[in-house]
């Protein structure tokens, strides 16, 4: 294999250029000036430190000053920041200016050596290692070799096992939500049940499952965030003739009211954008777009499945309730999910 072309005809290296003296090296006045410049830079750094101390102690944090371009700025925050920036920046400038104008700046040449060790060193190294390995006698002592292998294998398990209690096992948790047959739909926020007749055509409401045993007037209740990560549902009312659904999905609606999980089937973001004109739901994270009239079918973006639809109806008092739980997992896909 040839790798390098012959370099017989290269132009000659003119060699390291001669050192060019700086103004401060030749002229005492330039030298004096450079010295003063460095001193001024150090002084500016000191001014910055003082500004920081002054701002910390004397400027209250509720004073705003108008600065062109930047608008209204908090004087305390600005004083602290500018003071700190000055104290650091000019310290650095002073050191560099000092180095560049006054410190000796002749370039030096170091030599490089190949990193490869000498053949003797290598041979000695190999011998040392070989002798060491031979001393262990693994080849001869089969019993030790095997028991070592077994114990090393077992040794690796406890560290993994010790992490087991980081969390519960997934079990069927990802498949379940708080929606059960007969659960009332309540507004989020507000926790008010919804009369089907109160929903106007074109309206959108975010709902959660009513918490059992929870009365309407109690202000606070516990809704764990993990439930809010699965339960939210969007309620949309269209004119019934606007739907283009399979009979089963149509049966899950109630007089033009359709309910979808608000948790994106792609990566679990809240599908929060609804376009009235096109009747599309859009996820702000990755722009998956779902067509409400066709059962939240994916019409654009990376999501692969429609948003799960909740089967709804009304109870005796006319309030909206779930007729059945979700018939599939809400949210993003996972290995154990049965999507058939």
């Amino acid at each position: 294999m040839s790798t390098v072309s012959n370099e017989i005809e290269s132009i000659e290296d003119p060699g390291t250029p001669a050192h060019v003296a700086r103004a401060a090296d030749l002229n005492p006045r330039s030298e004096k000036r450079a010295e003063q410049q460095v001193a001024i830079l150090f002084a500016l750094s000191g001014v910055g430190s003082l500004l920081l101390i002054y701002s910390y102690i004397f400027i209250p944090d509720d004073i705003f000053i108008f600065i062109p371009v930047m608008g209204n700025q908090n004087a305390h925050q600005l004083g602290l920041g500018i003071g700190m920036a000055m104290s650091l920046f000019f310290l650095g400038m002073a050191a560099i200016h000092w180095a560049k104008t006054l410190m000796p700046e002749t370039e030096v040449v170091n030599h490089r050596h190949e990193f490869r060790s000498s053949d003797e060193d290598r041979a000695e190294f190999v011998k040392t290692v070989k002798d060491g390995v031979a001393g262990v006698q693994l080849g001869r002592r089969k019993l030790i070799k095997r028991s070592l292998a077994v114990s090393m294998g077992l040794f690796a398990l406890p560290p993994v096992l010790l992490l087991r209690d980081l969390g519960p096992l997934p079990k069927k948790l990802l498949e379940t939500t708080n929606w059960k047959s007969g659960t009332r739909l309540v507004t989020d926020p507000g926790d008010r049940p919804i009369l089907a007749s109160d929903l106007e055509v074109g309206s959108v409401v975010q709902v959660l499952p009513a918490i059992e045993g929870h009365s309407e007037d109690s202000e606070h209740h516990e809704r764990p965030l993990k439930d809010i990560a699965k339960d939210p549902v969007l309620l949309i009312r269209l004119r019934p003739e606007e739907f283009n659904l399979t009979p089963e999905k149509l049966a899950m609606t109630h007089e033009g009211i359709i309910a979808f999980s608000k948790i994106c089937s792609h990566m679990g973001c809240a599908v929060a954008l609804y376009e009235q004109q096109t009747k599309h739901l859009l996820c702000p994270c990755h722009q998956s777009t779902f067509d409400v009239t066709r059962g939240a079918k994916v019409i654009f973006g990376p999501a692969a499945r429609p948003l799960p639809q909740l089967d709804i109806t009304v109870d005796a008092e006319g309030y909206l309730i779930a007729r059945a739980p979700f018939n599939e997992s809400v949210g993003p896909s996972y290995w154990e999910r049965n999507s058939q």
Binding site: P14, Q77, W98, L225, I228, M267, A303, A304, Y334, Q340
Partner: protein, 528 residues
């Protein structure tokens, strides 16, 4: 001897008699560092890391890494009385009630952005100049490790405040983990301490963010810098500079003063940004709740390209035997980045396999003189830029009144078309620049002075370039392509023919060059 000198002497004696430091310190202080503006990029990485350590330590004094629900009753009125995690509440306290707290938070965030930007710039410098070649492959791989760690550390860092924006990022992170076949759900449950968002996540990533990952960072950065020290810095070609030497300033005093000063300048600029440029104003986003989202959700820039990839992925999922495989998540979020980072880490070995060059290299390449490598680099940058643009497609659509679907389709198509195009164009440009170098050496530089000849013809006067410049433009090697015998002496085909054919082809592509000016050519033209 002055008293000062005596004291220093005594101290030095004390240390040297115990650890024999004078020998190796003397040797280290004689190290020479070549000067070039691009060598500062690595320094910016290290300095912003130190700034991150300092500002981060300050923040931990007040930050409460807990998902315990509290009712906020601090000074920020719009959020008073609202339920939120202690992590978010303490972030608000740092921002509004600790003097200098907001400044430190903003310095910390700006320093993180600068850290990642400097790492990328440093990586590109090392790549385009060929500084990763033998003997520096280890340091290249450590660098790839550092940039990968930086992505994770940054993601964890901006997730800690537990605001609506970062919580959405965590929701996406959990979905990516869940998408891993077989074990994904389990890893997600263990990491979050149960179903998303769980209760353990903030305290756990806090430990990782402030202890484990910075510890690994410190160790790897130390090895990275020690290797630079031990192997001596690379240098650009120039008069008097060879593969056998290194020309520059000694560590004392000039390099030390410049590098030390530069640290304070980087810190000063970061502090200035923290003072005047608001970043991650978490109080505007509100506390995290999975049922809400803010429009225009954007990660920090270094994660934006990954988000852009996820956005442009086709809606593919496989359902079989009761299991689901989400290709729409696995491909963009794990497989493509995995291939990219592995390819990056292996590149020094791939290039050396293609060229057959196993020698040490201490002189840097001018990017134009290695068109294939430069083109590959520009191709990769193009790829990342397109994905980054797609990561901000919602912002772009609003800002320029465009259709988001059109931007997405533009990205989906151009992510396949533009990178190869960038490769071809860059390669052509490199060869044109080589040609321009050749012309410059042969004919000198244009002066802009027009002279009228006695015959009435106008010509432009060319001035010969200096000997130094001529050396810089002609001192590089122009290796020939590999030649591998496909059949042995007895006419029998050698094993691995396909591999060898590929290698020869790539080597040929790698060796394409405009012949550089030789001494003979120059002599000939001087005679005219």
């Amino acid at each position: 001897m002055t008293t000062g000198e005596k004291r220093i002497g005594a101290a030095a004696n004390f240390v040297d008699e115990r650890i024999g430091a004078a020998g190796w310190v003397k040797k280290s202080l004689n190290k020479v560092f070549p000067d070039h503006w691009s060598f500062m990029l690595g320094e910016v990485c290290m300095y912003s890391f130190i700034i991150l350590l300092i500002s981060g330590t300050f923040l931990t004094f007040w930050f409460d890494p807990s998902q315990r629900e509290v009712i906020y009753n601090g000074v920020y009125e719009p959020l008073q009385g609202i339920e939120m995690s202690a992590a978010y509440a303490s972030t608000l306290d740092i921002s509004f009630e600790v003097r200098g707290g907001l400044l430190m938070r903003q310095i910390h965030h700006w320093a993180a952005l600068i850290f990642m930007a400097a790492i990328v710039a440093h990586l590109l410098r090392v790549f385009f100049t060929g500084a990763f070649r033998k003997p520096r492959e280890f340091n290249w791989i450590l660098g790839i490790l550092l940039v990968t760690l930086g992505l994770v550390e940054g993601l964890f860092g901006y997730s800690l405040p537990d605001d609506l924006l970062s919580g959405t990022g965590m929701r996406i992170t959990s979905a990516i983990i869940q998408a891993i076949p077989l074990v994904g759900t389990y890893i997600s449950f263990f990491l979050f301490g149960g179903e998303f968002p769980g209760v353990g996540f903030i305290p756990r990533i806090f430990t990782l963010h402030v202890l484990l990952i910075p510890g690994i960072f410190l160790a790897v950065i130390t090895i990275h810098v020690m290797l630079v020290w031990y192997q001596k810095h690379t240098q650009f070609a120039g008069p008097g500079k060879t593969e056998k030497n290194v020309v520059g300033h000694p560590i004392l005093p000039v390099y030390m003063a410049k590098a030390g000063g530069f640290f304070f300048i980087v810190f000063g600029i970061t502090a200035f940004l923290g003072a005047v440029a608001s970043i991650n104003p978490v109080w505007l986003f509100g506390p995290y709740t999975p049922g809400q989202i803010s429009a225009g959700s954007q990660p920090d820039w270094y994660m934006g390209w990954l988000d852009g990839l996820v956005r442009m992925a086709p809606p593919w999922e496989t359902h079989a035997f009761g299991h689901t495989v989400s290709w729409n998540i696995l491909i963009p979020a794990l497989i493509v980045p995995g291939i990219l980072f592995t390819g990056m880490a292996l590149y020094p070995f791939i290039e050396s396999w293609i060229t057959g060059d196993k020698r040490e290299h201490h002189l840097l390449d001018r990017p134009r003189n290695v068109p294939n490598r430069t083109a590959l680099g520009v191709m990769s940058i193009t790829f990342v830029l397109i994905t980054l643009i797609n990561g901000g497609n919602d912002i772009l659509a609003v800002a320029f009144d465009l259709s988001i679907n059109q931007i997405m389709w533009f990205s989906r198509i151009s992510v396949f078309v533009l990178p190869p195009l960038a490769f071809i164009i860059t390669k052509r440009l490199c060869l044109s620049l080589q040609r321009a170098d050749r012309d410059l050496v042969l004919h000198g530089k244009e002066t802009g002075r027009l002279v009228r000849m006695p015959s009435g013809e106008f010509v432009e006067v060319h001035e010969p370039i200096s000997a130094e410049k001529r050396w810089i433009l002609t001192s590089h090697e122009q290796p020939a392509a590999l030649e591998i015998e496909m059949v042995d002496a007895r006419g029998v085909k050698r094993p691995g023919t396909l591999k060898n054919k590929l290698r020869v082809r790539m080597s040929k592509a790698h060796a394409v060059a405009v012949p550089k000016v030789t001494a003979a050519e120059l002599k000939e033209i001087e005679h005219h």
